[in-house]
């Protein structure tokens, strides 16, 4: 057997967290060393995943680097592996985590050690979600992620942190328990929870609708789709910067990934039946939450609502069930992962200086913090989906895919682009331009080195994939084609 590279990816952050846990605490020196350990571990993880991407063979849709071990008395195997879709999400996770750890510098003052542990554990679990090839293992990672996130929001959050943490936890748990029932049912229907075997076996069509709904309940909460999105703005607003970044950049992607891997892969017939439902909810999400975002006075809330709208495009793209739509939504997820992370970092930067997230407290920052204004501009434009940024590629492909399927839906969805431009540009105008009303702003220093490093790290891939999305689409192409082939094959049989 080859070197278990995926398991080591999952385990490394946990080992790092363990070292931090047992290390001496108290003095300033130990905080520093804890941070270096966390940084080291997460960077090693990032380089391993880059290596993984390099070795990865994009010409086949088979799962690669598969590891399988007996785990639960022969019932359930511990099975991990990656294909073209999941490898990108693993990269995204290992890329965002070190940036979060760097950002900890200014934002977290109390219990730094515990915070680093929470982030590292979170990273492990996220990687686990994206590479597990067994439904039960997937569920384990998916649910376990609630614990560190709950603590991140609850311990280091803002004033209404308790309410937000509870809402986040209970909403997601409520959605997930139904998925657990569905997973167990699948086991008794098909005799296995191994994803690759289930792809081959298929699931009896008479059960598919109910099972699809059960999975949907979990993923819809996590995505989040309208009308169960209300936990997201609260969670984002109260979470510390690093928490918001993790939440927006990766946690939301778990659900999108789940839709692709499980909803479409396992229940193609039900996915066909429910496309109208998903279209409706996605359209409401795109249009309605864009309007809501327009009216926000809190920067973080505005970006949170824009996340809901962007994830609306993702779900729309996934359920077009054609090549362009699916590829588009995967690229959109990656791009949103980069851009929303960057936007939350940007808000974090000014929040650390002013301790206010309200838009009206700002204005005219361009003359005080020119570097900041410039970088913020890049991400604002990427969020709008301006050509030349990664946001454009994703949105464009999703809209093409949708136009192929349904003209009306695509037309309404295009409205979202305009609205998106409206709320983002308006936000930019109000925060960056205009007269300086608040005199305290004058004391704000421009970006420091670590902040510049974080934002440039995010800006480079955003622009690079905007001009040259080839590496992304190359990686996912064969896997997506394969998924669509399976889907067409399965749905044609029943017709």
């Amino acid at each position: 057997m080859n070197f278990p590279i995926l398991t080591s990816l999952i385990l490394l952050p946990i080992i790092g967290a363990f070292f931090i846990l047992v290390s001496k605490s108290g003095d300033k020196y130990s905080f520093k060393s804890a941070k270096y350990v966390a940084l080291f571990v997460s960077f090693v993880n990032f380089f391993i995943s880059i290596y993984l991407w390099y070795v990865f063979d994009p010409s086949t849709s088979e799962f690669q680097f598969v590891e399988s071990r007996l785990w639960l008395q022969g019932l359930i195997n511990y099975k991990v592996g990656v294909d073209g879709i999941s490898i990108l999400f693993i990269l995204l996770s290992t890329f965002i985590a070190p940036l979060c750890i760097i950002s900890v510098n200014r934002t977290i003052n109390v219990k730094l050690k515990e915070f680093l542990i929470a982030i590292l554990v979170m990273e492990s679990l996220m990687i686990g979600v994206f590479c597990s090839l067994d439904l039960v293992i997937f569920y384990l990672f998916f649910e376990a992620g609630l614990i560190p996130m709950f603590l991140i929001i609850g311990i280091w959050g803002g004033s209404r942190r308790v309410y937000s943490a509870f809402k986040f936890f209970l909403f997601t748990l409520l959605g997930s328990v139904l998925m657990l029932i569905a997973i167990i049912s699948i086991y008794w229907i098909s005799g296995t929870t191994d994803v690759t075997e289930l792809y081959n076996l298929g699931i009896d069509s008479k059960y598919q609708n109910l099972l699809w709904l059960a999975f949907f309940s979990s993923f819809a909460v996590k995505t989040p789709m309208w009308p169960v999105h209300t936990w997201l703005p609260d969670a984002h607003v109260e979470a510390p910067t690093a928490g918001s970044v993790l939440l927006a950049a990766i946690l939301l992607k778990m659900a999108g990934y789940g839709f692709i891997r499980f909803s479409i892969g396992l229940f193609p017939i039900a996915s066909e039946n429910f496309t109208q439902l998903v279209y409706t909810l996605s359209l409401v999400a795109i249009v309605y939450t864009s309007f809501v975002a327009l009216m926000q006075e809190d920067m973080k809330k505005l970006i949170a609502y824009s996340s809901v709208a962007h994830m609306g495009y993702v779900t729309l793209g996934i359920f077009t069930l054609n090549q362009q739509g699916l590829e588009g939504s995967i690229i959109q997820m990656i791009s949103h992962g980069l851009v929303s992370a960057a936007l939350f970092f940007c808000v974090g930067v000014v929040y650390d200086r002013m301790h206010s997230r309200l838009i009206k407290d700002y204005g005219g920052i361009v003359s005080i913090m020119p570097k900041y204004a410039c970088l913020f501009m890049i991400f604002t434009l990427a969020a709008i989906g301006l050509p030349g940024t990664s946001g454009f590629v994703g949105e464009f492909l999703v809209l093409i895919g949708t136009f192929k399927k349904n003209f009306l839906v695509a037309t309404i969805a295009s409205l979202g682009v305009i609205l998106g431009a409206a709320y983002m540009l308006w936000l930019y105008k109000r925060v960056i331009f205009g007269k300086i009303i608040n005199i305290d702003l004058l004391k704000m220093p421009d970006l420091n080195k670590s902040e510049i490093f974080i934002l440039i790290c995010l800006a480079v891939p955003t622009l690079f994939f905007g001009f040259y999305p080839e590496p992304l689409s190359n990686t996912i192409e064969v896997s997506v084609t394969n998924l669509i082939d399976i889907y067409n094959y399965k749905t044609n049989i029943t017709k």
């Binding site: 376990a144 942190r161 308790v162 748990l173 139904l178």
Partner: protein
């Protein structure tokens, strides 16, 4: 009587109790000695049990006493948890000034009663074991003579428990009247649903048993008794009798009453659903940790019963796994309660935990893991316990039970989260005394590690339990 060696554990404990009583009476200030000796006695009994030949079944005393995989396993679990209860309560009873020789002796005799219950294969033997167990428990509940709360708990438990024992006896006599036997095997051959007396008998017996494991609607005594009793006794209440009572449940349902499966299944499902929902909802408003644990244990018993309602071997096994994991979690939780003291005064209110993470990071971390496990969040063992239960429940297509059960875990997650919130998010209070009790620390560390690392090798427990085949 050449097969008396099969009940060596019971004989040894009885002799041990007598010896300890005599020793305690004649030797002055022998509390510590008696305490240590009782742990030694339990350890020796454990040795007897572990050396027991497996994979065989033995009937003693004209088939009224059965030794098999189920009884051996449950006896081992009972005795291990008894040992840990004694270890944990050592310091506590000393500080609360109830360090008398009667305490370990009563616990031993109650454990003896449980061993008899677990192995009983006859209504009369079962009743003798049950009474021996509960009589000791009455006294234990009222053990803190200096506190009115404790006496009240003892009295309450006594009155209500006597009533339920009466119902149980009435059920037994009905069953005897309609089947003509007290032996489980003979009953199982002569029981028919056409005789309504049998159905009534089953109902009465189930009511009596439900009272003993405190499931809704026979749970009323639990919160008061849990709150009033000394904490170490509450730990005993919350853990050990449940094991024995659950075994008796399994025995009754799957040996004598198996023929009437359709009749009792609905009752068990109702008890299970009612306890899950009621336990989850009523725990939310509690302010006392011991009371809260009482309600949470009501909920947990609901899940354990859900496994029994299925009617398959795997259902029984999942219940047994559930109860094992449950007792480890509770053991850890109570260890944390024992550490909450300032100047020999123990605290057991919810708000006393506030900001614990600041001053006691290790204990808070353990509590965090245990609470998430109690709530059933992966990857802790509590999740697996629920997972097995719902595996078997869904195998038999009982979706309603599964959905309601899992939804009530969401509700119960709320109050577990509330405790975590108080520990981690609230402002810290005064520090608690540092405790250097090695027994307590070991128990806490052991239970937390078991709960946290269970997912690495979940087969260990399954392999043990999968040998238990009743049907």
């Amino acid at each position: 009587m050449n097969n008396l060696n099969f009940i060596y554990p019971e004989i040894f404990i009885s002799l041990g109790i007598l010896f300890l009583l005599v020793l305690g009476v004649f030797k002055k200030k022998s509390s510590s000695l008696v305490f240590t000796l009782s742990i030694v006695i339990l350890l020796t009994t454990l040795g007897f049990l572990i050396n027991f030949p497996s994979e065989q079944e033995f009937y003693l005393f004209n088939g009224s006493y059965k030794i098999d995989q189920l009884s051996t396993f449950m006896k081992i679990v009972t005795i291990i948890s008894g040992i840990f209860v004694l270890i944990c309560s050592f310091k506590y009873i000393k500080l609360v000034k109830i360090f008398d020789i009667e305490y370990p002796v009563l616990i031993l005799s109650s454990i003896l009663g449980m061993l008899v219950m677990i192995s009983s294969y006859d209504l009369i033997v079962f009743y003798v074991g049950l009474e021996l167990q509960t009589l000791s428990l009455y006294v234990l509940a009222a053990f803190n003579k200096n506190q009115t709360n404790s006496s009240e708990a003892g009295l309450k438990y006594f009155v209500l428990s006597a009533l339920s024992s009466g119902l149980l006896l009435y059920g037994c006599s009905l069953i005897y009247g309609f089947t003509g036997s007290t032996n489980f095997f003979l009953i199982s051959e002569n029981i028919f649903s056409t005789d309504y007396g049998n159905v009534f008998g089953i109902v009465f017996i189930l009511v009596g048993l439900s009272f003993k494991i405190s499931v809704v609607p026979f749970h009323m005594w639990a919160p008061d008794v849990y709150e009033g009793s000394p904490t170490s006794v509450t730990l005993f209440f919350a853990v050990v009798p449940k094991i024995a009572a659950l075994t008796v449940f399994i025995r009754f349902l799957y040996v004598p009453f198996l023929g009437l499966f359709e009749q009792w299944q609905a009752i068990i499902i109702f008890l299970s659903l009612a306890s899950m929902i009621f336990g989850a909802i009523s725990a939310i408003g509690q302010k006392n940790l011991k009371r809260l644990i009482a309600f949470s244990s009501i909920g947990h018993m609901g899940y354990a019963l859900a496994g029994l309602s299925v009617g398959t071997n795997s259902g029984i096994q999942s219940s047994i796994i559930y109860i094992c994991i449950y007792l480890v979690m509770n053991m850890g939780f109570f260890c944390c309660l024992f550490t909450m003291k300032r100047k020999n005064v123990f605290f057991d209110n919810l708000e006393d935990l506030s900001g614990l993470s600041k001053n006691h990071p290790v204990i808070s971390l353990c509590l965090l893991i245990l609470l998430f496990s109690l709530a059933g969040i992966p990857p802790t063992a509590g999740f697996f316990a629920k997972f097995y239960i719902f595996m078997t429940v869904i195998e038999e297509s009982m979706y309603f039970l599964a959905i309601v059960g899992l939804l009530s875990t969401v509700i119960s997650a709320f109050y577990y989260l509330k405790i975590i919130k108080i520990i981690y998010f609230d402002e810290p209070k005064k520090q608690y005394d540092k405790d250097h009790n090695i027994g307590l620390k070991t128990t806490l560390a052991l239970s937390t590690l078991l709960i946290l690392l269970y997912f690495i090798y979940p087969n260990s427990l399954i392999n043990l339990v999968s040998k238990i085949n009743i049907i």
